[in-house]
């Protein structure tokens, strides 16, 4: 055999040696679930024994951020979780720090400012206490949303002498501003431990705060006793509902307030996206009035109503089989993410074709 053939063979052997793939390191099994457990409408997304609440559809529509209660740990922390919009396995976003072990931590009311940042309510209380030791409205960023930059510390007193205890219905307005419903009461009704924040609505007024600034939140005039809050069709619009009222109000940028839609029964938890308006209507609702005439609602859930604002026609037939709360319209308005009522709180996706 000629030398050149030997060389060719030797090089071929070497090439063969190096070209083969070596064993890959051990890889974990894929343990995530794709899609819902059962593909029936409405699509049930969660089965947690604890409460899953306040869903917020990601701006890209692919996922859902929400709060869930962990019944498996002593403090029953309320963590955030990300869930594929079509159902599947959630990604837990729970606190993991030394200081989190002796307290119940709340990450609630998430609302997307952009695709990477959320505004939320962050609270904590020592295990065993019935009042929060720490409540803030702040912002947090992906991927784990754990480090919350506090903007408003609760409770605080307003110039009008009101004490705001905590925020709900956190709604980014754009331009670095966030609106929220300032709550002034907690219910004395039995509601488990801890009591879900928004089970009892006692919204006093809508407040707006500039995230970049350091000034106090300012009250939005004409928004007394709100029970729902959303952006509206036009820039600067703020939509809200009021206790014991079936109408959705629109407060325009110039401060004028008009009625955008009337659902015909007590409406709350209003939300608007892509020309569609959704709210919870009717249902299990207890209206309370304090001795000084201030209303509040104990909400056991109602019917999800979605209307096309262009036609004023309902998109969905009235379905009273589920008592629902806190709807969040998908960015295209073609689906609504919603939680069930006060007991067995789980998340559903309702198609709105």
């Amino acid at each position: 055999m000629s030398l050149s053939r030997w060389r060719r063979r030797a090089f071929a052997c070497l090439a063969l040696l190096t070209a083969c793939s070596q064993s890959e390191p051990f890889t974990n099994p894929d343990v995530t679930n794709e899609g819902p457990l059962a593909p029936t409408e409405p699509l049930r997304l969660t089965y947690n024994i604890g409460e899953d609440s306040t869903p917020a559809a990601h701006p890209d529509g692919a996922s859902l951020l929400y709060s869930f209660t962990r019944p498996d740990i002593q403090g029953r922390d309320q963590c955030l979780a990300l869930l594929p919009a079509g159902g599947g396995t959630q990604r837990d976003l729970c606190p993991n720090s030394a200081g989190s072990r002796d307290s119940t931590d709340f990450y609630a009311e998430p609302a997307w400012i952009d695709g990477n940042t959320i505004a939320l309510r962050r609270a904590a209380r020592l295990i065993g206490r019935d009042r929060d030791d720490y409540v803030v409205l702040g912002t947090a960023t992906a991927p784990d949303f754990q480090d919350v930059t506090a903007r408003v510390r609760f409770p605080y007193s307003t110039p009008a002498g009101l004490v705001h205890l905590f925020p709900t219905h956190v709604t980014p307005l754009g331009g670095g501003r966030v609106a929220y419903i300032a709550e002034t009461q907690l219910s004395g009704l039995p509601c488990g431990n801890p009591c879900p924040y928004d089970w009892t609505h006692a919204g006093r007024e809508v407040m707006v705060v500039d995230l970049a600034g350091d000034g106090p939140p300012t009250s939005v005039p004409g928004t007394d006793y709100p029970t729902g809050l959303s952006l509206g069709p036009d820039a600067g619009d703020l939509l809200f509902t009021r206790a014991d009222d079936s109408r959705v109000f629109r407060r325009a940028a110039d401060g004028t307030v008009d009625v955008l839609h009337d659902f015909g029964a007590v409406a709350r938890d209003v939300t608007w996206r892509a020309g569609r308006l959704a709210a919870i209507v009717g249902g299990d609702l207890l209206i309370l009035t304090s001795v000084n005439g201030e209303p509040s609602q104990v909400d056991g859930g109602g019917t999800l109503a979605v209307v096309d604002l262009a036609t004023g026609e309902p998109v969905l037939p009235a379905d009273t089989t589920l008592r629902l709360r806190r709807p969040s319209l998908a960015p295209d308005g073609r689906a609504v993410f919603v939680q069930t009522g006060a007991t067995a709180v789980d998340l559903y996706r309702v198609a709105a074709p």
């Binding site: 030997w6 052997c13 040696l17 390191p25 457990l37 089965y47 498996d72 990604r91 030394a98």
Partner: protein, 930 residues
Amino acid sequence: MSPRCTAWGLVVAGIALLGGRRVEAQAEGAIGGVVRDAATRNPIAEVLVTVDEGRRGNVTDTAGTYRIRQLRSGTYTVTVRRIGYQPRALTGVVVRAGGTTPLDITLDASPVQLDELAVEAVTDLLLDPLQTQSEQRITAQDLRQLPVASLADAIALTAGTVGESFRGGRPGQQSFILDGLGVKNQLDASTSGAVLRIPPDILTEASVITNGFSARYGQAISGLVNVVTRDGGERWSGRAAYETDRPLSGSADRGLDRMVFSADGPLVGGIRALVGVDLNARQDFDAVNAPAPVPAGDPRSTTPYPLPHNAGEQYTGTAKLTIPLGQRQTARLFGLMSSDQRLLYDQAYKYDTEFAPALRVAGTLVTGQWQYTSAPTAKRPFVLDVRAGWFDREFMRGTLTEPLEQKFGAFTFDRMHFVGEEIAEAQDTAAARSAVPGFTSPEYSTSTPWGVPAFFLGEGSRGEMSWNRFQELRTQVDGTLGLGRGDLYFGGEYLSQDVQTFQRALASLPVGLGDSVPPASASAFKPQAFALYAELNQRLGELGLVAGLRYDQFDSRQDLPGEESGPKRQLNPRVAVSTVLKGATVVASFGSFSQPPDYQFLVDAAFDDTTRTGRFRQGNPNLGFEQAWQFEFSVRGRPTKDLELRTGVYIKRLDGLVASVPLGFDPDSSIFGNADYGTVRGLELIAERPVRNGWGARLLYTLQFAEASSSSAFLLRRSYTIDPGTGDTIIPARVEFPLDYDRRHNITAIVQGMAPVQFGPRVLGVRPFAAWEASVVMRLLSGLPYTPLSPPPDTLLGAPNSARLPWTGTVDMLVRRPIRLGRVQTGLYLDVRNVFNRQNIVAVRRDTGSPFATSEMVEQMAEAAYTANPSAIPYESPRYRPAADIDGNGRIEGRNELFPLFLSAAQDVSQPVFFYGAPRLVRLGAEVIF
């Protein structure tokens, strides 16, 4: 000491007292003998015997004897000249480190000046009476022809060696000698392996010396590993090789890649250079031959062999310059850098490997040697060596900041970075009081096939930060003075060391949280050590005598508050006598040895301890030397032309070894002390048929009894025993138990063979069966001891180390086919370890005596885990496993659905993994020799 031991000692000591022993400097050997007239057989005086082109040599005395000292191991041509005789050149004279090559020469008288007559020398090292050491050599040829890939592999082939334990001693009781200069990790050699790896291709030879080694060497009580590197040659040559198992599949493919390169040759001005590179990586670095996983669904069932997070990579680079400084002086500069990076498999992090631990160890050694040699004609030959070495070793273990990206096989060509590394290196205990940024606390994994919150961890690491650094500047002066038929060796060394340590546990939590997080510990001190020695080596006829004395001193310079620890001193006499009796060389030796303790025992230690004896030891800056006395009697001879036999018996007394001494009843209240003592007795037998006529064989057998009062510095040594008469506790008692490395029987057989170049028929112009080289190593080892415990609460069942593991056995094989391509020598080789893939059990659970937990234990584990976490698992949870949701309601709830998952998880986590030895490992290699 037992009466039997005393008798042994007296017998051997009696023999030893007859004389002494001799030792050459361990990097060098000698050539010695008598020059006689070929016709009259009379000795000839004034004959000039030289090597190394006349640079080194000696002149015969009136008895015709000569001795050329301090020759680096290698092969020499000896030139012999005297007026009136025909000059001779004897080629192929092999010099071994630490030995004297006997070479008697005859000269033919010639009245006229004739040309030099070149002949091949015939030497016999076996019967050399000046060879008194129990030394087992691994030559460069062995390293090439045997299935060994590293120096550690080669050392494992010597009799009486168990891992890093020599003759039953603890790891770390040996010292490493590189080209005559000692190198030792004095900080934590007993618990951490060596980091410096010498590429085998640059070695001339390596040897393990386990008896009374020269007074020139200290810092060891069990043995020396002596390594001699090559000098650069007179023309450029080298070797490049690539080894891999990539072409294999399944269990044979462990993602191995190894690249080796070495070259040496002349530079300018007579300077010669040697460089070596050895890069080694494997996906499954600590491979185990564990059985298939028990629970169905374990991912290792489908890819049964590679463990997760078990990759490792080793980088070694070395360079050496040999600089002649005229006829009489030589300088050598040597540098070596080694780096190990390992991902460490942790059963609890099997499914969340990013939080599993990793370690990085880096070592640097830079040495310089200046040697002066007197003229060959000097009446009193004199050699002076001045050596200096800088050794730096840094260790870091913890959690990676981010996984490294593998770029070629398991090679990352990147440096591992650890969470909190800056704090550790700065030894900032104040900053480490808080939760260390970057660490998160572990929670039960959601990534397991079982889902349930039990046993397996994720979300965060264990929070370990362990860093240390050891630096040493060593200067050593060695002199050799020729005294006719003897030599005087003398010299000393001075060591200046720098020790820094840092440890922090549970770093995701602040110190003191719930009294469960201990504070970070750090230490920094600068010990010094000093030694002087003198050794006389004298030959009286057929009797070789050596007597040496070594003085050692060390000072930790880390004083206790209000108390100075001061220097510790030790005198170590060493003597040996050897002679040739009826064709056999008989050697008796006695030596006293000492070593400073690992400096890690001078500072506080916190550690995990499964024997429930505590987890904290107070450091003791006042620790003294660990000591040993050894008697040995050995015989070697050649009963037939092709058979060499070597046998020896020895007894070694150990004393003052570091052990944990209780300060009270609380097991955490204890301190390190020089409290352990023990005895090692043994018999070694080596039969060898040197490679001749195409084959050779070697059989090694060791019978050994190694007992002491404590196997580890971390075990509490309570000095009590039970009176057999009264049943009362007696304090104290010198009760001894088998040491952890007490391997009773160690049998190794090595067979080598090679086919002649012209062997076999010629087919298509080549001889396919010619030039093949093959070697097989068979090992049969009795089991090491272990201590049986009852199931929790872990009560001792019987005496410590009263049970034994089963025997283990392996067969390794190397086959090589050299191939000549034109003027280039190439080759292909196949190296297979554990050819028959025998499943060797190297450890067992102390509570069952087998690698497995019982089914009852597993069920108890599962039950406890279920009771602690009975919560339902909803569909959207990452813990949800559809197969377990029997009723399909979107929740795994209730015992019926949850418990099987907990049971599988318990079976998974209790699987034996590291209870088994290595599986079959195959490597295919291609090499080019130029």
